[in-house]
Symmetry: C2
Subunit: 284 residues, 2 copies
């Protein structure tokens, strides 16, 4: 572990959310130099959105005291990481990027909709070791009192042992009311989904509008999933990749579809993940 | 192929973009029954964002003539698929979901930021066969005159041979000016990225704002990538999965980190993709 690691913090619930304040306090316990670039307004459900049609604003904040360099960014979580890496940090490379702590679970398929995890995955694309933290409890009143030691343990292991290249960690923490945490468990993303519907209402002018309603249903009986780990009282850790290629799908299509196979080339299929230092842009 | 397939169309460039008009015309050549639910305003770069803080509007449109049931939705591409599946289609199952044709490439890592592909991936999560189409040419003036036969060929193969369960196809088409198209090639997502920077400007009130600038750089020399296929004049087809778990990352972490291995369970690791009909919600 570096003597004084440089840690970049972001989230999707905005700079004033309780979850990010807890994350800042945890990183202070690591005696880290901390830079925070977080959204100025809540960005839950923003997925991996980026701002391309208009420019960004960046406002300095003293919210976390004189020791923490903090900024509110007008964009999305992915924007925050981009402007932190390419503008705020001016070429300095963080030892770790942490995002969260999200108010609400980002386990299973929720990872796709999660602004918290998009910040972490954006950092991974930039070749930086990155972790998204989420507490499985929604709302401003979520109880973060038990999360500190588990966040610190995951960060210490990441600083000591690294994070696999081409991945960001999706870490979910059971809520306090669920009882004592049993430990930390590596897991795969469960095949769960939302069973959804829309409720139609009418505005005062008789025009219809629609609210999305959903119930989260885990259809995956595997014991090696993030959902199973959380249900058993463990903190779940899923390494998430940003290469979306389904290699089994490719092989299946090469058999079923009447299309040419991809030619052989310098890189084998599937390729080995590249090391972080090889992945980063050469000019930086 | 069904005699008269039901095809759901969406995009991210909005209902009035030329690209979606081309896609509607292609699907009419398949003698399909067509339902369009597309964003009311441009949603490029929205990634897999969903609308959770406010309700959606849905306005019927006669833009594509009396034969095509079309709606403008106030939300994101992922919202469009959700409201189409759970409200507009009232339980009817599309034989195919197509998204696009995007004005601009969604090859390589662009898939993560793409609203076009988020519509397709959302459909795949719902257990529906789905394809996102993109033309490698930006702007309202993009030349779509050559795309028809290639879009139709991919859709015919999808209807005849299916799409691997748990995946959506990311199809990119070279621009017209690049010369005659050589064919269709299966490919993996290239390890390319954006080398980015921010340009600082000042508004009339002397306050700074920041424009994202970027250059797309392919660092992947593999001949089996989408970038290589496009550079050689082929339409690229990448099956994209929404299980982000890095199984090689899991194995690496089990060695390097001092954590318990996930327990064995009913599902093996990595699991086989489930068939579409098993994946859909039981209640529908």
């Amino acid at each position: 572990m570096p003597t004084r690691p440089l840690i970049l913090i972001s989230n999707d619930d905005s700079l004033i959310a309780p979850g990010i304040a807890h994350l800042v306090r945890c990183m202070q316990e690591l005696h880290a130099e901390i830079v925070v670039v977080a959204p100025a307004s809540p960005q839950s459900g923003m997925g991996h959105a980026i701002t391309i049609g208009h420019p960004l604003r960046l406002d300095k904040s003293s919210l976390f005291g004189p020791e923490v360099e903090a900024y509110a960014c007008s964009g999305t979580p992915a924007d925050c990481i981009k402007i932190a890496k390419h503008y705020v940090l001016q070429g300095r490379r963080p030892d770790l990027v942490v995002s969260g702590i999200n108010h609400g679970s980002n386990s299973s398929v929720n990872v796709l909709y999660s602004g918290t995890m998009s910040a972490a995955i954006e950092a991974a694309i930039e070749g930086l070791p990155a972790i998204g933290f989420s507490l499985c409890e929604y709302g401003d009143g979520a109880d973060f009192s038990h999360v500190g030691p588990w966040v610190l343990e995951v960060c210490r292991q990441a600083l000591a042992h690294g994070i696999p290249a081409g991945t960001a960690l999706n870490v979910n923490i059971p809520k306090h009311a669920a009882g004592p945490i049993q430990g930390i468990r590596l897991a795969r993303q469960a095949r769960a989904k939302w069973q959804e519907s829309f409720e139609q209402r009418h505005d005062p002018y008789k025009r219809p509008y629609y609210w999305l309603l959903g119930e989260f249903v885990n259809q995956d009986r595997g014991l090696d999933t993030d959902e199973a780990a959380l249900a058993a009282g463990y903190v779940s850790v899923v390494p998430c990749q940003f290469d979306l290629t389904s290699y089994t799908g490719l092989a299946e299509m090469a058999d079923a579809w009447q299309l040419a196979l991809p030619p052989a080339g310098p890189a084998s299929t599937p390729p080995q993940p590249v090391a972080s230092e090889d992945y980063g842009p050469a000019a930086q």
